[in-house]
Amino acid sequence: MLIETIDNEQLQILLNDILEVYGYDFLEYSHASIKRRISRLYALDNFVSFAEFRYTIKSDQQYFKRFLEEITVNVTEMFRDPSFYKTLRNEVLPVLGTYPFIRIWVAGCSTGEEAYSIAIVLKELNLLHKSLIYATDINPTVLEKAKKGLFSLHLLKQYSENYLQSGGTKDFSTYYIANYSLAKFDQSLSSKMIFSSHNLVSDHSFNEFQLIMCRNVLIYFDKELQHKVFNLFDNSIEKLGYLALGSKESLDFWPKSKQYKRIKTEKIWRKL
């Protein structure tokens, strides 16, 4: 009985509590997914009753921090989907390189792997000096990790393979210093990043960008919320700017999708 520890009614009660007490709105998240995450946490932390779980979430701010970290999915990797990064490297970023200044928003950046990946490509295209990467997430704890630029060394082999497949030509290990079990990424990369908390559900547009990357975040939202977030992105992308989504996400059913043109076979759209 791993999953059916929280029923639908209890889920609704919890999500309402969280909105009321902490201002985080999960009501329009994909139901099946958030129910699974919350049930998993309930079992993981050995709560004996729903009442106890509910009380702890409502009254213990430290526990809520954990709750937030555990129910949002923070699985990510560097140069995930190498062909996507290849298209960014060969087609998207060279176009942005003609601008005097490049602003990129990595929305839902989690622990920062994608922000560092894009910074590496910008550096190799000699564009990093005139770029600024805004990396945001709902969860302040992961942003703290992202800022440090520290990643587990045992993952670097996979990242390095991804990097090479994505068209990278350098020795990947020149971008970090290995220190015990951690790889510390070069400061020249993070110096062009601004980390900030931002909630796609409730916060507004805060700048205009030439590229917004939001990959594997929208799968956790229901359709209505996805459309709201597309509108937020639309208000935050310059004309002829780009929007990049995860490999299974799509703009297709969004009413304004006709104002965007898809780039080849990747999940990248250009605003017309």
Binding site: M1, L2, S30, A32, K35, V73, V75, I219, Q226
Partner: protein
């Protein structure tokens, strides 16, 4: 089998790992083309091989075979394949959700995740089949199918090319039917509603 005739099937989920492809390839040509429920297939495989499995199955049936797409409606009579590298969940609205969270049983997609999610939605109207495989993914999910009164079917471990997975199911859950690969299609065809 008498019980089978009186129970409704709203969805059939098939889970499998190593050695399950041959079973699917054997069963698909024999499936009737007017199934009254969707078939959802969750198998362990390398990412990037999605279209291969879809093409193989397409060539063996006139049923519509497609990858399970994020937020797409689940239509009876269609066959859906869980995409590699995502967990596949089912929403109350009869649509799919994808999830890129941690691997379960070293697997993404995990059969447990889809079995559990489907049990939560379809309750007793769910049929789950667990095929050949060499880890225990799916067994936790089948426990929940049991709890909701859904039907559990396993491939006969004696004839499965990798018996471990159906064997673990046989040891841990109550099983409604144990079938050889050549009996699968007939069983599925008989699930068709009146």
């Amino acid at each position: 089998m008498a019980q089978t005739l009186t129970k409704k099937c709203s969805a059939l989920i098939i889970g499998g790992s190593a050695g399950s492809l041959d079973v699917l390839l054997e069963m698909f040509p024999k499936l009737r083309d007017d199934l009254t429920f969707p078939i959802i297939i969750v198998t362990h495989r390398k990412s990037g091989s999605d279209s291969l499995l879809i093409d193989l199955l397409k060539s063996r049936t006139s049923l519509k075979v497609a990858e399970a797409e994020e937020k797409a409606a689940i239509i009876p009579g269609n066959v859906y394949i869980a995409p590699a590298d995502y967990h596949l969940l089912i929403e109350e609205s009869g649509t799919f959700s994808l999830d890129y969270s941690e691997k379960i049983n070293y697997s993404r997609p995990s059969i447990d995740v889809t079995f559990q999610s489907a049990a939560d939605i379809f309750h007793q109207d769910l049929v789950c089949i667990l095929l050949s495989g060499s880890n225990a993914d799916g067994v936790e999910g089948l426990k929940m199918v049991n709890n909701y009164g859904g039907r559990v079917v396993i491939q006969n471990p004696l004839t499965a090319s990798m018996p471990y997975m159906p064997q673990q199911a046989a040891l841990n859950v109550s099983v409604d039917a144990v079938l050889n690969s050549d009996q699968m299609a007939m069983y599925i065809n008989e699930l068709n509603g009146s």
